[in-house]
Symmetry: C2
Subunit: 448 residues, 2 copies
């Protein structure tokens, strides 16, 4: 283990995680009299709200990602460290990484959350969730491979299972995925195949609650459902998944059990905090909720540890409403900005009032010309909601060049109804890796 | 094994490989009275001349790729089949895939070539070549990970090895990779790190012949070398790699042996035909050259098999010059167009003269404002060559939407000197796959 060699004279802020929470903490401290170290396993910040567009072939990974170093290159007090955090020692005030130890005066933990399979982790492989670039590329491969396999399949029953897509979870991700797959099947791919009619594709959205998008106004849930059904997706509410096995999803509606054969099952339900929550619980005695999120104080710190903050999807902040704040980008962003401000005030002996989330509203894209926007007083649906959705997302894309590229890509897709990013990648590299290990002489076998 | 169920009444053309050769064969047959089946392992066509820009973080995979189905969707007589060809039966006229058999009347084989390690296949893992999207992403990861690791390394010797890049092979790919890495180190990344000075990066281009770009005029080789050295790369000609082991490259210049420690070694030398060459040799008695390429007749068919054509990098066509035609996109393109024309003429009982390659020249990009263009009578270098290089590549990008996106991306990179596609991806997915298999309960461990 290599100890950090730099002499730490200034106040050391260590931020774990380069998502919205971590990024905005670091950006907020750019001109503060502190040293900031941002630790992440990945070298890029990911604009997660658009990840489903990578999964469905509209955007490329780099359209919605920007190198952390590039975002923070102007912040001369900030270092980026690629590494995996294993533990935290609150006595010596050190973060323990795989290959080194980093001392902190203030620690900000923003490592996010994953999907929860509600105790059925064996479903993960057959029903992947959408959290990372790799998840998105895996889901993209599955979607487009299903159409490819259907084109080759001669057995009608197997073909039907290949052309059936089941999406579990009716929050924004589930709704957006369902809408995008419906558009693919009924518009984008219509001309591309010779043996199958892609408009026979069945898309089933299974939602536990009594409506989709339960975070929004009921009228918008209704609009979203209508838009999805117009696009050709079937929305099933008050539905619970009982089992996933051998490409068959068993689900329950009331007392009725249903079964559907599907080769492509996507998971967009539940929240499971990253394991840093458990580590912090062990090391600080912090209380965690059932999803593993750390219950934080009104100033986002951990009880009894004023210099350790937890923000974003990993935090359970319940001081404002009865419910904890939702795991969305604006919450993480505002929490990051708050913590950056609080750290600076404290260094000059002052403080600021408790954190308060300003909810500017929420929005979801269903398809071309169809979205829903809930700004409290103002509710939009259809074309204007769609335009609003586009503008907001372009505005918040952190890196300027992506903004224009994404806008251009969208405009182009809109005009041509094409999706340029339909590459099925990754599998060959796995196969190749195996080939190289086992038979170094037969390279790439038959390269067709 | 599932036999093809369609009734084959029309003349059946089967094209193996969706690169330049295969694509242009299929496009040339779009309005012919034949059925065309294009077989490829991948679902996309790759614009290989720009692959080095994916490897060095300027472009995204989908910028230089287009779905085969999308390119061929207007060709109603053409089917795309995803599959891996295992064998060819010339008696029954069948192509044997992993999961089915496809009958042909005319067969066009265009499966390309890989790099050759000259019998040292154990170097492949430490010195990857650049042929596929996965290769490009792997090389991109290695390049950017090397800078990341150098930033963390405290031992000066190890740090030097991390900041040393060795590129083997001084053809267009080697020259373009060297130039791009030099620009990264000396321009793009200059602001991003805190512990290292990326301008101390050492880039070594090792070339066997007495000059780089031996396919071009000597004056342009000289210009390319000068441009590379101005960018900070070192060009070593008449140099042979003797060994690669433990991150040390041993090379020979005359009688002198040299050693250099490098953590990032890239391979851009030699040609090794894909194994379809060997299969065709076995099944048709066709003669292959030392690189495994099939020696073809003046009409690109195999001797004694007038209905089997071999084109592109897999073919050795030596009827025009003493040397076989080079393995470049324009040769494959023109060969594909020729074969498409010949097939149609034959069906109406006619024929056409032997294939003749029209060499419009060659070009290579060294860096911003620096390229070399050899059009025979006209030779360009520097800024005008660079502009010419840009226009030509944009013109030939098959899919219209990519053209504009790539142009936009380049313009943006030119103005900002940023590279947006610097994501290190893929490794986590491998790690995760392992985690999922072995410990299904600990998901994504500490997600930072």
């Amino acid at each position: 283990m290599v100890a950090s060699v730099e002499k730490n004279q200034r106040h050391q802020v260590v931020v774990i995680g380069g998502g919205f929470g971590g990024m905005y903490t670091a950006k907020g401290l750019a001109s503060a009299n502190v040293d900031v170290t941002v630790i992440d396993k990945r070298n890029f910040h990911l604009f997660q709200p658009l990840l489903y567009q990578v999964a469905t072939g509209t955007l490329s990974p780099s359209d919605i990602s920007a190198p952390l170093r590039s975002i923070l290159s102007k912040s001369k007090n900030t270092k980026v460290l690629l590494g995996e955090v294993k533990d935290v020692d609150t006595k010596t005030q050190e973060v323990i990484l795989n290959d080194r130890v980093v001392r902190y005066d203030t620690l900000v933990v923003a490592t996010g959350a994953n999907h929860s399979y509600f105790g059925n982790d064996q479903w993960k492989e057959v029903a992947p969730g959408l959290k990372t670039i790799e998840d998105a590329l895996e889901i993209r491969s599955r979607i487009f491979n299903a159409f490819e396999a259907a084109e080759k399949e001669t057995d009608p029953q197997k073909r039907r299972a290949l052309l059936t897509f089941v999406i579990v979870g009716g929050g924004p991700t589930g709704v957006e995925l369902s809408g995008a797959i419906a558009e693919l099947a009924n518009k984008t791919l219509q001309e591309d195949f010779r043996n199958i009619d892609t408009s026979e594709t069945k898309i089933l959205l299974l939602q536990g609650a009594d409506r989709v998008l339960p975070g929004m106004a009921p009228s918008l849930s209704q609009a979203a459902k209508a838009s999805l059904e117009k696009l050709g997706a079937s929305v099933q509410t008050q539905t619970r998944v009982i089992n996933i096995e051998n490409s068959v999803v068993t689900y329950k509606q009331g007392d009725e059990l249903h079964e559907i054969a599907s080769k492509t099952i996507l998971w967009a339900a539940g929240i499971q905090a990253s394991t840093m929550g458990r580590i912090l619980g062990l090391r600080t005695g912090a209380e965690c909720d059932r999803a593993g999120r750390v219950i934080v104080e009104p100033d986002l710190s951990i009880k009894g540890h004023k210099n350790i903050f937890v923000i974003g999807d990993l935090a359970n902040f319940s001081h404002q409403n009865e419910q904890p704040l939702p795991g969305v980008a604006p919450v993480a962003t505002q929490e990051g900005e708050y913590v950056a401000k609080l750290i600076q005030k404290r260094l000059s002996g002052k403080t600021i009032p408790a954190f308060k989330y300003n909810d500017y509203g929420s929005l979801a894209m269903i398809g071309q010309n169809a979205a829903v926007v809930d700004l409290g007083a103002i509710k939009l649906k259809g074309f204007f909601a769609w335009i609003f959705w586009l503008l907001i997302h372009i505005y918040f894309l952190i890196e300027f060049d992506s903004k224009f590229l994404v806008m251009f890509q969208w405009a182009w897709n809109y005009i041509t109804r094409k999706r340029g990013s339909r590459l099925i990648t990754g599998q060959e590299s796995l196969t190749l890796a195996k080939v190289i290990t086992k038979q170094p002489t037969i390279e790439k076998t038959v390269k067709v």
